[in-house]
Amino acid sequence: MMWSWIPENASLIWQLTRENLYLGVVPALIGLAIALPLGIIAARWRWFYPPVLAAVNILYAIPSLALFIALIPAFGLTDTTVVIALTVFSLCVILPNVVAGLRGVPAAVTQAATAMGYGPLRRLMTVELPLAVPVIIAGLRVGVVSGISLASLGQLIGVSSLGYLFIDGLQRSFPTEIYVGLFLVIVLALVCDLILVAIRRALTPWAAAQPERRQRRLRQLTEVTP
């Protein structure tokens, strides 16, 4: 481990980190944007989901490198190729969560909403989607974390990311570079994950942490009902 290498290459490391962040987060967000309408349709018309899920699973089974190569004739050795490929992967992990989140809304709640005079669209936007948020964000977390780690593969077709440090370190037999790259990928993934957890907490104050819920329940059981 050669510590002095880090400050000497700080600007390179910083640039690679930002590129890796971009390649990890943007495809996940595009994936979410596609998964939401698909998931809403799939949750509403059940017959729609099995074929879509099958297609998405087949795409997910394609090795990422193979997908990069397949996209090169159309988009060349560019960011776009990597973003498209990673979007497909994030879509694969986020879509099932959107569907599960919407289907997980208790029937009693949707029925009550209908019975109180909600139209289908208003019910979706103000009742069903908000209640699906925890499950959707759980999918987004997996999408972002795996995107950040998959982004380094882009380096194989020359798209810059922290993957550069792995390849360069390997070619030069310089482990410090590899360790730094590895460390930064993990830190990046953890930080993004924590941010998403914070967003979920802020969006869903009504879904308190499980242990706290149990405590409250206990308190209620011992308290006299008026």
């Binding site: 208790p106 009693a108 009550a112 019975a115 109180m116 005079g117 209640l131 104050p205 009504w206 819920r213």
Partner: protein, 399 residues
């Protein structure tokens, strides 16, 4: 008023859930739909707010065919309460209650103000307004569900097994609250339950269903108990319907024996002179215990009764407020086989033996009117007529 005219619900697989239902729910009354599972009672309820569409027949709300109404607008005028509460987990208690007012375009602030009024109306602490549903007990959630249904002051309230998921004590208090709310608000309520006791307690009218959506009998509860239309109804109502029917017979005017009541300062001699097998001993007017006069003979005549070992009273009944059923229960539980009658303040008025209760039962069986509901906070007026004759006028005084 809600009218079902030859309403049938048939599912594509041929199952008939509701079969040619004719039913009239008078305005301002509580109609309870009761029956075994699969009898079509919930389907019938859900057809009123068009959650389920009938295959044949017509449902009229105040004379208008509900099919002619926009479903969402129709539903905003009909309160809906379900067993699982269906509260929105992501909204606070006040925003849950404010749902329909907000949907109909009230400003949020005004709607929340209304929500706080309703919290008080259903007996909840306004401090709960900012909590989320998961922070409430089952009984509290159910009260919020009722408040939410009442928020826009709809004339009609549909309740689908509203109290089935809570424990018996909470259920009884929710039922009592529904009775007192109804005495105040005079909504047209349709309530579904599988519990005949609940039907008898909260209903002005009870519609008993057979399996597969046929009506067996529609009648006020005491009629259902007194004159079941057939064996099916009698069986569903239960073998102890005779005793339960006593819930509708008042204890006012019951023949009481005050000779068997002595204060704690009275002596053993006075007790023996009373010539009763058991003496109810009182302390400052309130019941203290039963003394068996057979055990007194060996004691010095001057001993005050307060110093003699006494058996517990069990529970007394309040004359006029409690029903004959409560009085009979008090007598059954008493070691003396007699019920202790008290006034509203708990002061002993006298005792009633089985003989007195029996003559009151026989008398009460032919007597209409003066019928009080057991445990109801708000006694209501006469409940003796057949379905079609129920008066629409406001019922008796609210205390």
């Amino acid at each position: 008023m809600i009218t079902f005219e030859a309403v049938t619900k048939r599912y594509p697989d041929g199952t008939v859930a509701v079969d040619e239902l004719d039913l009239e729910v008078p305005a301002g009354k509580t109609m309870v739909l009761v029956g075994p599972s699969g009898c079509g009672k919930t389907t019938s309820l859900r057809m009123i707010n068009r959650l389920v569409e009938p295959t044949e027949g017509t449902i009229l709300l105040d004379g208008t065919d509900i099919k002619a109404r926009n479903p969402a607008l129709l539903r905003r005028g009909i309160g809906y309460v379900i067993q699982q509460t269906g509260l929105f987990p992501h909204r606070t208690v006040e925003d849950n209650i404010a749902t329909v007012p907000v949907l109909t375009g009230w400003p949020r602030k005004k709607a929340r103000g209304r929500a706080r009024e309703l919290l008080a109306l259903v007996g909840l602490d306004p401090a709960l307004a900012r909590r989320y549903p998961y922070q409430l007990s089952g009984g509290q959630q159910q009260r919020v569900g009722v408040a939410r249904a009442l928020a826009a002051d709809p004339p009609v309230l549909l309740m689908d097994e509203p109290f089935s998921a809570v424990d018996p004590l909470v259920r009884a208090s929710l039922q009592d609250q529904l009775l007192s709310l109804q005495a105040e608000l005079q909504k047209t309520i349709v309530l579904v339950t599988h519990d005949i006791e609940e039907a008898i307690k909260v209903g002005d009218l009870v519609a008993l269903f057979r399996p597969h959506g046929k009506l067996a009998q529609v009648a006020p509860p005491e009629r259902l108990l007194a004159a079941p239309a057939d064996d099916y109804v009698a069986g569903f109502v239960g073998f102890d319907r005779g005793i339960r029917r006593l819930s509708f017979v008042s204890t006012a005017g019951l023949d009481l024996d005050s000779g068997a009541v002595l204060p704690a300062e009275a002596t053993v001699t006075q007790a023996l002179d009373a010539g009763r097998p058991w003496i109810c001993v009182t302390e400052a007017g309130h019941p203290r215990g039963w003394v068996d006069t057979a055990a007194l003979a060996t004691l010095p005549g001057g001993t005050p009764l307060g110093q003699v070992a006494a058996e517990p009273i069990g529970h007394p009944f309040t004359v006029g407020r409690d029903s004959l059923r409560a009085a009979l229960d008090a007598a059954v539980l008493s070691p003396a086989g007699q019920a202790v009658a008290v006034d509203e303040a708990g002061g002993v008025l006298g005792v009633a033996a089985f003989d007195q209760l029996r003559s009151a039962i026989q008398h009460g069986a032919i007597q209409h009117g003066a019928i009080q509901r057991e445990a109801a906070q708000a006694p209501d007026g006469p409940r003796g007529q057949e379905t079609r004759e129920v008066q629409h006028a406001q019922e008796g005084p609210v205390p």
